[in-house]
């Protein structure tokens, strides 16, 4: 055995890990490269060009779908984050009380059910309501997105809260702060990074959803992912690569932000 025996070494593990990282990124890199391809097909390289970005930008369907995605994502993220924050405050840092386990289960329930099942359920439920009320706007998509975003927004907020020392709030109360003032001056500022992380997570999750949106949307309510899925089903053009690249860039930006916000410790 070598003179410097490494405790942590396991044969082959590093090779597998390296392969995994390469394999994870390689397809994405290829996809991005082909977005800048001048040729009309994705099988040959015709030189560098921005034409597919241009064409995507001039495609009103793409722009419509993008704006719709942002609109649904923004509203769903804000609503779900507010609700998740309230729920997190209600379910952390307490002795067990009747209903607490039920709340955990209920809040995490959307994570436990395959998307396809939720999609089907909402299709049926909302189609009834549509007949009943005659309303067929974006409200259904927003409601659905808010619901499945809640458990995601809840995760970082709850994690942050659980790491927060109750003694700080006690100290504030000891120093004559009323419960509301304690919340405003101590709890909320300390919880803020968790709330931001939850907000960003919810936004990304909403933006990424395909399955539930596919089942809930009415005609003409395509979001960017459902529009892209439709296009991919029909056949591949480099325009999809361009849209994907722009989408990727946004995701990476949000994830990077999320990463730093949730890692921030004070």
């Amino acid at each position: 055995m070598a003179s410097n025996f490494s405790i942590k070494h396991q044969p082959g593990f590093t090779t597998i890990a390296a392969t995994c990282f390469v394999v994870l990124y390689l397809p994405i890199i290829v996809l991005v490269l082909y977005a800048f391809n001048a040729a009309s097909s994705t099988s040959e390289w015709g030189g560098f060009s921005l034409r597919w970005f241009q064409s995507a930008y001039q495609n009103t369907q793409v722009i419509d779908a993008t704006l719709r995605s942002f609109q649904i994502g923004a509203i769903a993220a804000v609503l779900s984050t507010i609700f998740a924050t309230m729920a997190a405050l209600a379910t952390t840092r307490t002795a067990p009380y009747p209903g607490l386990t039920f709340k955990y289960a209920a809040i995490n329930q959307p994570l436990m059910v395959p998307e396809i099942v939720t999609g089907v359920a909402l299709l049926i439920f909302f189609s009834r309501i549509k007949i009943f009320t005659g309303y067929s706007g974006l409200g259904y998509l927003i409601a659905a997105h808010t619901a499945f975003c809640i458990p995601f927004a809840y995760l970082p907020i709850r994690a942050r809260l659980e790491n927060m020392d109750l003694t700080l709030e006690r100290a504030a109360a000891d120093l004559y702060a009323t419960p509301w003032k304690t919340f405003r001056r101590i709890t909320l500022p300390l919880l803020w990074p968790g709330i931001l992380a939850g907000l960003m997570l919810a936004f990304v999750i909403s933006l990424d959803d395909v399955v539930i949106t596919e089942f809930v949307k009415s005609g003409g309510q395509d979001t960017l992912p459902t529009y892209m899925l439709g296009q991919i089903r029909r056949g591949v053009t480099p325009e999809i690569n361009a849209i994907s690249t722009a989408f990727l860039l946004l995701s990476v930006a949000i994830v990077t932000l999320f990463f730093f916000v949730s890692r921030k410790r004070d």
Binding site: L168, A171, A172, D174, L175, Y176, A177, L190, D266
Partner: protein, 364 residues
């Protein structure tokens, strides 16, 4: 005893605190009563789980008693939430607000009380000076050392001029040297501010050096309240004698009580004089305690006799463990000198002399 006025700042009357319910019930405090005088440095001393912190939390308002009253200058404060009590706490973990500066932390209580800005500023400056932290007023609390955090926590709790200051093992996170410094600092602050301090600790040495009076607690009960001298020299119960300092326990028959004195007949047949609590009835099977430093070892015949078992050198003194002829163990502490050894060796047959003022009869 120094000239303390006799007014009570805090009166704890028959307070019980029961956690849990049914089978899992635990009485953290069991009908505890104690009075804490105005301007006094009062210490709750006991091992962990004895109920001292629970009692402090009840006074602060973080918990409510299951039964009993807590009076602050005659008013029952037990039902009040913490933000309505003119009592402030120094937390074991300091609990400084990490998103505020040192000055903002100190001014927080005054701000919450709705004091005008000018007054807060002046008071914060005064507090910073009191704890010698003027230079660090603008720092975030994460950027200062543990000792400095301790000072800020003190200043923050003192700033609203509470009627009583509660200190929950505030020195336990500091290293030895800093702890000694802060002990002196705390005494100074208490003297300068004239505020009643209630101090919780499990460290008997800390309690003895700092307190005007000490309450020794065990299993949710207060066993003895008294000055450090009382607690050390006249322990009422076995637990108190054992918890504070080192003690030898001897079985003796007590007779001739009166005037706080009694005659104790030891197993060896020797009779010595011992102090005793008022109203103690003579009995055959009582326990007498003798501190190791109050006994003397001799090569001649003493009040007790035995064999040297072990000799442990401590620098300032030497502990000599003796196996008494009756089978009991007895330790004698002997001051060291530079030139000579302790004068005994393992296996020596020795006698133990117990002075006239060395023994105390326990209540139980």
């Amino acid at each position: 005893m120094p000239d303390k006025p006799d007014r009570n700042a805090i009166e704890v009357v028959n307070v019980s605190k029961i956690f849990g319910s049914g089978e899992g019930q635990v009485a953290a405090l069991d009908k505890v009563s104690v009075s804490i005088r105005e301007n006094e440095f009062f210490t709750l001393l006991g091992p962990s789980g004895c109920g001292k912190t629970t009692l402090l939390r009840l006074i602060a308002g973080f918990d409510f008693p299951t039964a009993g009253e807590i009076l602050l200058y005659g008013q029952d404060i037990a039902p009040l939430p913490p933000f309505k009590r003119p009592v402030n706490t120094v937390f074991q973990s300091y609990a400084l607000f990490p998103h505020m500066t040192v000055a903002d932390n100190i001014g927080f209580g005054l701000e919450m009380l709705g004091k005008p800005k000018g007054e807060i500023k002046a008071r914060v400056a005064e507090m910073l000076k009191l704890v010698k932290m003027e230079a660090l007023a603008g720092r975030r609390t994460a950027q200062i050392s543990g000792g400095q955090q301790q000072r800020v926590a003190l200043a923050r709790a003192l700033a609203p001029q509470p009627k009583v200051l509660l200190l929950d093992e505030p020195l336990s996170a500091l290293d030895y040297k800093l702890r000694k410094e802060m002990q002196i600092e705390l005494k100074r602050l208490q003297h300068e501010t004239g505020i009643t301090f209630i101090f919780v600790t499990h460290d008997q040495e800390e309690a003895l050096t700092m307190s005007d009076r000490i309450a020794v607690m065990s299993s949710g009960k207060i066993l003895q309240v008294g000055s450090p001298w009382d607690i050390y020299d006249k322990p009422a119960e076995r637990f108190v004698a054992d918890f504070i300092g080192e003690t030898n326990f001897l079985t003796a028959a007590i007779s001739g009580t009166g005037n706080g004195k009694a005659r104790a007949t030891l197993k060896s047949g020797t009779t010595i004089e011992a102090t005793v609590a008022e109203g103690f009835q003579p009995k055959d099977n009582a326990t007498v305690v003798v501190r190791p430093e109050h006994a003397k070892l001799t090569k001649d015949k003493g009040d007790l006799s035995g064999t040297v078992e072990n000799i442990v050198y401590f620098g300032t003194d030497t502990h000599i463990h003796v196996q008494l002829d009756g089978g009991e163990a007895f330790t004698v502490r002997q001051q060291n000198t530079r030139s000579a050894g302790c004068g005994f060796e393992r296996g020596d047959k020795v006698g133990i002399l117990i002075g006239n003022d060395a023994a105390q009869v326990l209540r139980d």
